[in-house]
Symmetry: none
Subunit: 448 residues, 2 copies
DNA sequence: CGAGCATGGTCAAAGGTCAA
DNA sequence: TTTGACCTTTGACCATGCTC
């Protein structure tokens, strides 16, 4: 067992030269496995230790560092003490040496990442507070010279999540604290999706080439990568706000569902599917895509107004033009159950894009072949993971889990509204009070 | 996941082990062994210490603390004893286990601050002195596994004072000598829900008292806590498998939706709502509750058969008896989109119960008052957090996130099927080909 | 009453975080 | 990408007070 230091020694040490007393518990230090750094062969037998006896086998550096460590033990750094490396104000003894925050962090990072630096001059660069970042080779060398001890560096600790206060008291369980996994793959996925989201925005304002049915649209090359070749469509851009007409509704429905198909074709996993499975996914999702984009990208004019990109708007109690007899109104529900929650949850564009991808790859889509189900489920999992990482990296696990959960549970409301819409479309067909566009019909109507 | 220590082990160990041994058997246990398995076989019951007799009149906490004290009295930690958690040098017996300072402090802090950790991997991280800080979830789990006892944690040091004297003088005030161990909030939520789930199972086989409409059912005391007073209903128990008739369907629909109301009334947050908001939540969820329980508790007879508790079953291509003209069949969808995914995802009963609670508290339920929305959303968040913790504790983050996500996205399919069902009910009303029970109608039919 | 030990508390120095 | 001010977590050490 290690002996504890007697207090008198401590105070003596603080004032003057270190007396040969104890050593900090080397046994409790992590055994760093760094090349070129040898560990003490035996972790101190027992009983009392003295510097002289135990340091007989040490090289100069080790002796030096143990002295510093002893000094550091239980003793605050004196007021005004300077960093032994750069002469900035020291914040304490770090790795055995009075040093500043910067040099402390620099030393750890260098060791942990096993970096090697090369001096651009002659290896004799000055290291002080003002130019300490100029030469990393010489800064690191200085760290070692003044006795910073790589053995004092521990293994990776568990992640702790955001340190900046989340301000909002998420009433209840702020108790949770946990890891935030950062995965590169997830990040890449999100970046891709966000990029495609941008392309969709461009395509939204282009003249879309005519197609003859959904199948043909699925066959053509993806338009999203050719937006520059397409003509600009002036009817899609904002000029003024005005109450939407049924023509606006129709135009945007068709346009958005065309974009949905182009968007779907950007997924490799989608392109690998058989045409019937592609059709199944698209038919399952197209109107949702339409709906989600409409409300997400609607400029915020309060909770009672959905605004299209060209300025046409729909009110909570909608104008006569967009009402059809026999159809239940779904605009208030779009506002209450999708638009407002999106805003309340503060969904970012990246989150929105990733959410759509997870929604799109639905293994339970109607008529999806058994064979495709697995691939689709796997693809969904990819986007679910990416979405989770995206959200929790910003908010931390406790709050992130709730946002992630709330967002995913919105799918229930969304699907419910979609069902309502389908019912409406059937009413339209039945009473012929509005001619449904053939393209839209093909995508939205249930086969009976 | 969390392991509780079984009391007998301590007594047995304390009294039974040879004098020179103490407790090192714990430390030398293989790290993977479960406490219930490895601790129980303590050879000799209590010996000369007569712990059992002296503790017969004490409550659990006192029993424990006195045992610790006796233990401490008699036996110092042997020289060179290792920490049962991380194999560092032990500094003594802490919370019943030979352990180092670090693990001791870590355990106390975790309990006191009610923290929950989530493993970044699969919950099987190694814990030793070099990497003990790498995964806090696994370190804490190891603490519990080797038998650290949360009940030994006091939170007011000064009140531990005259334990013995108080116990002798006045019985009663000694209960707060040591604070009741603080259980993890999420875990408590899940345990509660699972308990209620069990009560629902009982109620499912009882004769339910007649009620006059949903409002009345909401007013009455919750039946779930009075199942013992209710008569057993023999028509609800299994006798043989047989094709379900429309009467089976009807009986179970009514029954399950009655249970839904009783179930809802077990939530404090629900009881705090105004009656109209209660009605809104119940109307929004009752059929979902019905549907979910039906498929979740259906005995597994393959992917093409839903089996009721009394043995009545419905096939994928259902028997004539349960088909109604004009109604779209929703049984295959129930199987494909709910029953099979539940089984594939390996949803446990605890997960199922927590999922239902999160689903129930829907801030977007139709007609929910603005005032209630916030409370309902907050309540949902509670269950979402609990569900996440439940899942990731077992599976770790990467896999858990996907299971959590997939489960929540099932709400879309479920809601879609519910919408289909509502449509069917409207058809039934319209064509009068089946008389919908008034109770069911009140809960399921959209007001127009 | 003092010896012995397991409690909780303390705080310097570890590591993590994230805006710049 | 790197930096470093600022944050949380850790654990050696300390004081306390129970039990014998």
């Amino acid at each position: 067992m290690l002996t504890t230091l007697s207090q008198p020694c401590f105070f003596g040490m603080n004032g003057g030269l270190p007396a040969g007393t104890g050593l900090p518990s080397i046994a409790s230090m992590p055994s760093g496995s760094l090349p070129g750094v040898s560990l003490l062969p035996s972790p101190i037998p027992s009983g009392h230790l003295s510097v002289s006896s135990s340091s007989s086998g040490m090289n100069g550096q080790q002796k030096f560092s143990s002295v510093y460590k002893r000094m550091a033990q239980r003793r605050k750094v004196p007021e005004g003490e300077l960093c032994a490396v750069c002469s900035d104000l020291a914040t304490g003894y770090h790795y055995g040496v009075a040093s500043c925050n910067g040099c402390k962090t620099f030393f750890r990072r260098t060791i942990v990442s096993e970096q090697t630096f090369i001096c651009q001059y002659d290896g004799k660069c000055d290291v002080n507070k003002n130019i300490r970042c100029a030469c990393r080779h010489c800064r690191f060398n200085k760290c070692l010279q003044v006795g910073m001890d790589a053995k004092a560096i521990q293994n990776d600790r568990d992640r702790i999540g955001p340190t900046r206060k989340a301000a909002k008291g998420s009433s209840g369980s702020d108790s949770d604290n946990a890891v935030t996994p950062i995965r590169n793959q997830d990040q890449e996925i999100v970046e891709n999706l966000t990029h495609v989201e941008g392309l969709c925005k461009e395509l939204r304002h282009c003249v879309l080439p005519e197609v003859n049915g959904v199948n043909q649209a699925l066959m053509f090359d993806c338009l999203l990568f050719r937006t520059k070749e397409l003509k600009h469509d002036p009817t899609t851009v904002f000029k003024e706000f005005y109450p939407a007409s049924m023509n606006d509704v129709r135009m945007w429905n068709i346009r958005e569902m065309r974009i949905c198909i182009e968007w779907g074709k950007t997924f490799e996993a989608f392109m690998r599917l058989a045409i019937n499975d592609q059709l199944s996914l698209v038919r399952n999702f197209a109107f949702t895509f339409n709906l989600l984009n409409r409300v997400f990208y609607s400029p915020d004019h309060g909770p009672d107004k959905i605004v299209y990109q060209n300025g046409a708007f729909i009110l909570r109690e909608p104008q006569q033009q967009v009402q059809l007899s026999g159809c239940r109104l779904i605009y208030p529900r779009q506002m209450d159950e999708i638009m407002i929650p999106f805003r309340k949850l503060n969904i970012t564009e990246a989150e929105f894009a990733t959410f759509k991808a997870a929604f799109f790859f639905n293994p339970d889509a109607l008529d999806l072949s058994q064979k495709a189900k697995e691939d689709v489920a796997e693809e969904r999992n990819k986007y679910l993971s990416a979405l989770f990482t995206l959200i929790t990296n910003k908010l931390g696990i406790p709050v992130g889990v709730q946002k992630y959960g709330s967002l995913l549970m919105m799918t229930a409301s969304i699907q419910n509204i979609i069902a309502q819409n389908e019912e409406n479309m059937q009413v339209m067909e039945l009473f012929k009070n509005w001619e449904v566009d053939p393209f839209v019909r093909e995508l939205c109507m249930k086969r009976t």
